[in-house]
């Protein structure tokens, strides 16, 4: 982007360090930018400040013991992380999951997706200068957190799923409370749009920035909303259904602009679709039945390797396990969507105005725990 004023004033490049302790990076993420005036020439992301070596730790843990570690990877959507590990082991062992457990899994995953998108919505607007929306987003997210608290005993790190099912059945009245919340959120969501989406200043702030093409997205292995905003109609829940997602009707929101505004709209539309899934799942929820399938006491998958991927709120979340037939994985690898999606950041920041940096970084929706693993 050319500098708006050609005044003939001589500028020179300087290096500016942002982070790792900076509110707009949502964690300990560091960005070293080379700027000329206010134009970014080059941006170099630096990470690893939150690297906890989960993959190494997992090699010395039994499969069930890894589950709490997955909670802490993407701590805004622990349920999907729990699920992807269980799903990988279950695929490897060919286990079948009781229907009731599948329903509970889908319900908590979709609620977690909503909670995660709400956090993104609030903090993203906070990033670009709107304080109020944050409060509304966290107010509604709190209800979800309380429901999870009631279900699993934790507010963020749920450790809820197990290989073969889920740990806890829904307590009496929980399903009704969840139904109530879904109806409440359904009526509340239009207010979000009234508050922010229709705001002309907001729209012109993020329209047309952070734009990339579908080809760029595929080249950089982007997934989730980051891919769908470029016109690719792809959602693993729909295209490679796992769990019982094939039983529910929902649409995959797709946009073609590939800019920050389209990603904003897609995330809000995904909340609507999650509400649709939740309505169906809560209505069809089987009252009777087990929440744990028949699993061996000691989980020892056969020798071999497995790679599964699911649609997490941030994109394609994958788990690879190489098993040697022991009760611990030989190699455990997480394909973290935040980490992979962030790769396109240097390209997006090249040549843009410094003030857009935060708006573009925020639209990628990273969780640093997931970037650094």
């Amino acid at each position: 982007m050319p500098t708006p004023f050609s005044t003939g004033i001589r500028t020179e490049e300087m290096v500016l360090n942002i982070g790792p302790q900076h509110p707009s990076t949502h964690g300990v993420f560091r960005l070293v930018v080379k700027i000329d005036g206010e134009t970014i020439k080059e941006a170099v992301p630096v990470m690893g400040y939150l690297h906890r070596g989960t993959e190494k730790l997992a090699e010395n843990l039994t499969y069930t013991q890894i589950i709490p570690y997955t909670d802490r990877i993407d701590y805004l959507s622990s349920m999907t992380n729990n699920y992807v590990l269980c799903h990988a082991v279950e695929t490897l062992m060919g286990l079948s999951i009781p229907e009731k457990a599948e329903f509970l899994r889908v319900i908590v995953m979709e609620m977690n997706r909503i909670a995660s998108h709400l956090v993104w919505w609030g903090t993203y607007l906070l990033d670009i200068g709107a304080i109020g929306p944050f409060l509304y987003a966290f107010r509604d997210r709190e209800t979800i957190i309380n429901l999870f608290n009631e279900l699993s005993g934790a507010r963020l790190t749920y450790n809820y799923m197990r290989i073969g099912g889920v740990k806890w059945d829904a307590p009496p009245g929980w399903i009704e409370k969840a139904k109530e919340f879904v109806q409440y959120l359904k009526s509340e969501l239009p207010n979000y749009h009234v508050l922010v989406s229709g705001n002309e200043i907001f729209q012109s702030r993020i329209t047309g920035i952070g734009t990339y093409s579908r080809q760029d997205a595929l080249d950089h292995s982007l997934s989730g909303v980051m891919l769908r905003c470029t016109g690719e109609n792809w959602d693993i829940r729909k295209n490679e259904p796992y769990s019982i997602y094939d039983r529910f009707e929902f649409d995959v929101p797709v946009a073609t602009e590939g800019d920050c505004l389209s990603r904003y709209h897609l995330r809000l539309q995904e909340i609507e679709q999650s509400i649709r899934i939740l309505e169906q799942a809560l209505d069809q929820f089987p009252e009777e039945g087990e929440v744990m399938g028949k699993v061996p006491k000691v989980i020892r998958p056969p020798v071999g390797e497995v790679y599964v991927r699911i649609e997490a709120p941030r994109g394609e979340l994958g788990v690879y396990i190489a098993s040697q037939g022991k009760d611990k994985p030989w190699r455990f690898k997480l394909r973290r969507p935040s980490f992979v999606n962030l790769q396109i950041l240097p390209k997006l920041l090249e040549g843009v105005n410094m003030s857009n940096m935060v708006a573009i970084l925020g639209s990628i929706d990273i969780v640093v725990g997931e970037v650094d693993a």
Binding site: E55, S221, E290, V298
Partner: protein
């Protein structure tokens, strides 16, 4: 096995433990075979008794068996053998709806046997349920057997059951592989096509191995020769019939005798997937970089270099990404020892 007829001695306990171990092993084999087989084999209706992990006890129980326990053990063993037989029959070809049947029968058998003691009944039912497909049941049973071995009579009965269980399990495992090979994978045509296209262009020796990974949602998997990899990678993306335009995952694995880099590709054009593995040595671990083909490989290769020490010639900026720059060693290597200046 006949020496178990004597009074309980330490040797007998050891023998019982050995039997239990052998049985657990057989059960494991059977389970692995089942895991390899089509999913429908394990697909059972819900409502099965769950195997409660927290209840795990040491496999050999040292406490004295009470009459109730003896009865329980006998009943359990009986019910389990029956269940195992049913399970074998189910595995032999009948569909999963045989399982509830088997369960019911096993439960009934257990009930009849242990009608005297209510506690024994409960235990038998639990074991009968658990014993059908999982080796948890086998563990339970092994336990029960160890207890039973303390008393000669109970031991004899349990032994017979153990033999039956082993037989039925090995029977199951010998049947399942053939059943598994019978239907070719739905992805077999894809694999054949990939192999055909690649061999036409790069010759037979470029592909070391090709198979359907049945454990991983039947993904076609190719093992590519290291020296051919970059050319093939380019081809995988550009060949119109393949067009793997999306690199889903890239990482390395240390197998102690070799290193492997694992790629998972997807084609948004044709909607098919492919897993590729490239082998390299541990000492001079090196695999051609594919960052010039898929830009998304950039950080993944850096991470693999950082944590496993695999070199990616052709990568524009192969530096550490997770660990600090001055870090010594590659933590995900199996022989990694943290370097400590103070030591």
């Amino acid at each position: 096995m006949s020496e178990e007829k004597r009074k309980p001695t330490p040797e007998e306990k050891a023998a019982a433990a050995a039997v239990a171990r052998a049985k657990a092993k057989a059960a494991k084999e059977a389970r692995e075979a089942q895991a390899n087989a089509a999913e429908s084999d394990t697909g059972e209706p819900n409502g099965e008794g769950r195997a409660d992990a927290p209840q795990a006890e040491p496999p050999i129980e040292k406490r004295k068996p009470t009459p109730e326990e003896k009865a329980a053990a006998a009943a359990a063993a009986m019910a389990k053998a029956k269940a195992a037989k049913e399970a074998r029959e189910a595995a032999n070809g009948t569909t999963s709806d045989a399982d509830p049947d088997a369960k019911a029968k096993a439960a009934a058998a257990a009930k009849a046997k242990a009608a005297a003691a209510a506690a024994a009944k409960a235990k038998a039912a639990r074991e009968a349920n658990a014993g059908e497909t999982s080796d948890a049941g086998m563990d339970e049973d092994a336990k029960a057997k160890a207890a039973a071995a303390a008393k000669a009579k109970a031991a004899a009965a349990a032994k017979a059951k153990a033999a039956a269980a082993i037989k039925s399990n090995t029977g199951a495992s010998s049947v399942e592989p053939t059943a598994e090979e019978a239907p070719p994978s739905k992805n077999q045509p894809y694999l054949d096509r990939y192999v055909q296209i690649l061999t036409e262009r790069f010759g037979k020796e470029s592909i070391e191995d090709s198979y359907i990974n049945r454990l991983s949602k039947e993904v076609p998997t190719l093992l590519i020769k290291n020296e051919h990899w970059h050319g093939i990678a380019q081809f995988l993306k550009e060949e119109p019939a393949l067009q793997f335009d999306y690199l889903s995952n890239l990482h390395g694995v240390d197998y102690e005798d070799r290193m492997e880099v694992y790629y998972h590709f997807y084609s948004y054009e044709h909607h098919h997937s492919l897993a590729v593995k490239v082998k390299t040595t541990r000492e001079n671990a090196s695999v051609s970089s594919v960052t010039d083909i898929w830009a998304g490989a950039d950080w993944n290769e850096r991470e693999t270099f950082d944590l496993l020490g695999i070199d990616f010639p052709g990568h524009p900026n192969l530096v550490r990404i997770m660990m600090p720059d001055e870090w010594i060693g590659h933590p995900l290597r199996k022989d990694y020892e943290p370097f400590d200046e103070g030591v």
